[in-house]
């Protein structure tokens, strides 16, 4: 079986976020980049499937510029067999999904896994756009994925509960914990990642119709006010007059 895992290259969760060029660009100075935490789960599940299903290969794909290669090497160190980097700035979801769909078509993958969302822009729609573009099902957020033959049993989180589904291959899944425990590369994996193939391809041109105007940071969190549990009046007063949410 051929599995494609799409990974994002995103700022570490503890990074301080700044913008440059008049607040029109994200400023990566001093920022540590990591594999998107949700993508990490997708990758971990793919590697588990590879380990338990002989003949499975895992390809990782990233849409990004050359600086994402250490992140891709990490995915190879974790156990993917080879990698594709689509040489482009991942500007928006439609653009990224178009590149993924293009590569997925060419590679003939039976399973396309990715995180439920990236943790930089958090749009959470790439999996469904890829599914639409390929004309195959897409499911998210997938918390459990068991394969048997040509079908997969999935568990998905929905408002107020869980949904259990059966999907036939091929399909796209946006993954989240506890689909698998995320993996730490070992030293042998890091060594062998040196020589695994990493193919760089040029992007297909896409007219996505999305342009970024300006970035803004959210207002810093205010301090917490404690109100005694029986003072409902005061709570309502503050919500109305201070927080202005009622």
């Amino acid at each position: 079986m051929k599995i494609l895992v799409c990974i994002t290259h995103v700022p570490d969760t503890t990074s301080k976020i700044n913008f440059k060029d008049n607040n029109t660009k994200f400023d990566p100075t001093g920022v540590q980049f990591i594999i998107g935490p949700y993508d990490d789960y997708a990758l971990a599940r793919a590697i588990e499937i590879k380990e338990s299903t002989p003949g499975t290969t895992v390809t990782v794909l990233n849409v990004g510029l050359a600086e994402t290669e250490p992140t891709i090497r990490k995915a190879l160190a974790i156990g993917a067999d080879d990698a594709i980097r689509v040489n482009a700035d991942p500007t928006d979801s439609f653009f990224v999904a178009s590149q993924i769909a293009e590569q997925a078509k060419a590679g003939g993958y039976e399973l396309i896994l990715m995180g439920r969302e990236s943790i930089d822009y958090n749009s959470g729609v790439v999996h469904s756009i890829v599914g639409e573009m390929l004309g195959i099902p897409s499911v998210s957020p997938v918390m459990k994925l068991e394969l048997s033959g040509n079908t997969a049993k999935l568990a998905r989180e929905i408002e107020g509960g869980k949904e259990y589904l059966e999907v036939s291959l091929p399909f796209v899944a946006g993954c989240q914990e506890p689909i698998a425990e995320w993996k730490i590369p070992n030293m042998r994996g890091i060594m062998s990642a040196r020589t695994k193939p990493l193919k760089v391809v040029e992007p297909k041109s896409v007219n996505s119709g999305v342009a970024t105007q300006k970035y803004e940071l959210p207002k810093p969190k205010g301090s917490v006010k404690m109100i005694s549990a029986d003072n409902v009046k005061e709570l309502v007063n503050l919500l109305k007059n201070e927080a202005k949410v009622l």
Binding site: T13, T14, I17, F26, P37, Y38, Y41, E69, P70, R73, K74, A77, E117, I119, D120, Y121, N122, Q176, E177, W182, I184, P185, N186, M187, R188, I190, M191, R194, Y215, L217, P218
Partner: protein, 406 residues
């Protein structure tokens, strides 16, 4: 930009408590390759997942978590510089240093387990062993299937190992080993011991002794206030018949075990700075969070002085370690250079641990923070692998050409 950092953080729950970040004041990371950084972050993640959540409990109970041996094997912490064909990592000395730094950042006892296995057991078998010995022992030691120990120190011969009395006699078809070793890390749980003993002519040789050989026992040493999560014991040899093929053929004389110590001491130079970084990181956070006289204690000059001195010493030691790693990679690192780095790192770490403990006030003496554990651990690290003063004598001998050991 929506800020979902919180959600990603709760995703990786096991890392929530341990927020360690290493200081890099002189941008030493620029001197590392992407692969070095991946090695470091992987071992750091491993420590945060496998060691940090449990180490306080293990240390308080003086419990050696034997299951960590297999986990160290899986992650590749044993014998990083040993070639891959024998199960090692095939990595360079900077990688080895970073691995030791990250593990000791978690705990010196855990680092001891790993450096004994890699530098003091696998290294001599690789360097001085026959091809059969390498094939038989190295893969099992690398994977963590077997734990090993290194027996040099004796009850009456610590700083002066050349005076050892443990000895073996050639009995024709085997050797007969007698004597005792003391203060041996890993010994109570070890399957394999690399033992240094004198033959009839007084020359020191290395022998591989295996658990189960008649007359060989490994009583545990109890009551340590230091390296409590590492197990320490004796090696007792009462007419142990050792097969002749268990003698390390490649090198003999005191130089052989001293070469092993060079490799381990190099790892300690990096490791101790890992412990220092953990103390500094914790002190820095605490200084910003703890309010006294209506201000964070980090706003007082005396606290700032402590933090500034800590960062200075860590930075100097980082540079020494990095340069030494490059020399080791080029095959040019000397015993004396390693002595200087080992001694300096441990001293710096001990001083930082003491200052960090003060910054933590009363909290600093509890297991809520790692400081007191590091501080007690480092009291062993400053003594083993050549005491603080013995390294001065090694350097003094190098400077003057006059040995002052006796």
């Amino acid at each position: 930009m929506p800020n979902h950092n919180g959600s990603a953080e709760t995703v990786k729950k096991s890392m929530k408590q341990d927020r360690f970040e290493h200081p890099d004041f002189y941008a030493i990371d620029d001197l590392l390759t992407e692969e070095h950084k991946l090695i470091r972050s992987s071992i750091r993640d491993f420590v945060k997942r496998e060691i940090s959540p449990n180490i306080e409990d293990w240390a308080q109970r003086a419990h050696f978590p034997f299951e960590i041996v297999k986990k160290f094997g899986d992650i590749g912490a044993f014998g990083p510089t040993i070639p891959t064909e024998y199960g090692g990592g095939g990595l360079d000395y900077i990688s080895y240093g970073l691995i030791m730094q990250e593990i000791e950042r978690g705990d010196s006892g855990m680092r001891s387990t790993a450096s004994v296995q890699g530098s003091l057991v696998m290294y001599p078998i690789y360097k001085f062993g026959s091809e059969e010995q390498r094939k038989k022992y190295l893969p099992k030691l690398a994977s963590g299937e077997w734990l090993g120990c290194f027996g040099l120190t004796e009850p009456d011969h610590g700083s002066n190992p050349g005076g050892m009395v443990t000895n073996f006699k050639d009995m024709g078809d085997h050797y007969l080993l007698n004597g005792a070793k003391m203060w041996i890390s890993n010994s109570p749980k070890a399957q394999v011991a690399v033992v240094w003993a004198k033959h009839e002519q007084g020359r020191i040789h290395g022998l591989i002794v295996e658990r189960g050989m008649a007359g060989f026992s490994t009583p545990e040493t109890h009551g340590k206030w230091s390296l409590r999560a590492s197990t320490t014991g004796e090696l007792v040899f009462d007419n142990v018949k050792v097969p002749k093929e268990n003698l390390l053929p490649g090198k003999n004389g005191l130089g052989a075990p001293l070469m092993c110590l060079d490799s381990a001491r190099y790892g300690i130079a990096w490791g101790a700075i890992g412990a220092a970084m953990d103390c500094y990181d914790s002190a820095r956070r605490y200084a910003m969070e703890r309010i006294q006289f209506d201000k964070p204690i980090g706003s007082f000059q005396l606290v700032q002085k402590k933090l500034a001195e800590m960062l200075t010493e860590i930075t100097k030691a980082q540079l020494v370690n990095w340069r030494l790693g490059v020399l080791m990679n080029e095959g040019k690192g000397t015993t004396q250079q390693i002595s200087m780095a080992k001694r300096n790192s441990v001293q710096v770490a001990l001083e930082i641990a003491r200052e960090a403990r003060q910054i933590h006030g009363g909290m600093g003496i509890t297991g809520e923070y790692p400081i007191m554990r590091h501080m007690m651990n480092l009291e062993s690290v400053v003594t083993y692998e050549g005491t603080h003063d013995i390294h001065l004598l090694i350097l003094g001998n190098h400077i003057t050409g006059i040995p002052a050991f006796i």
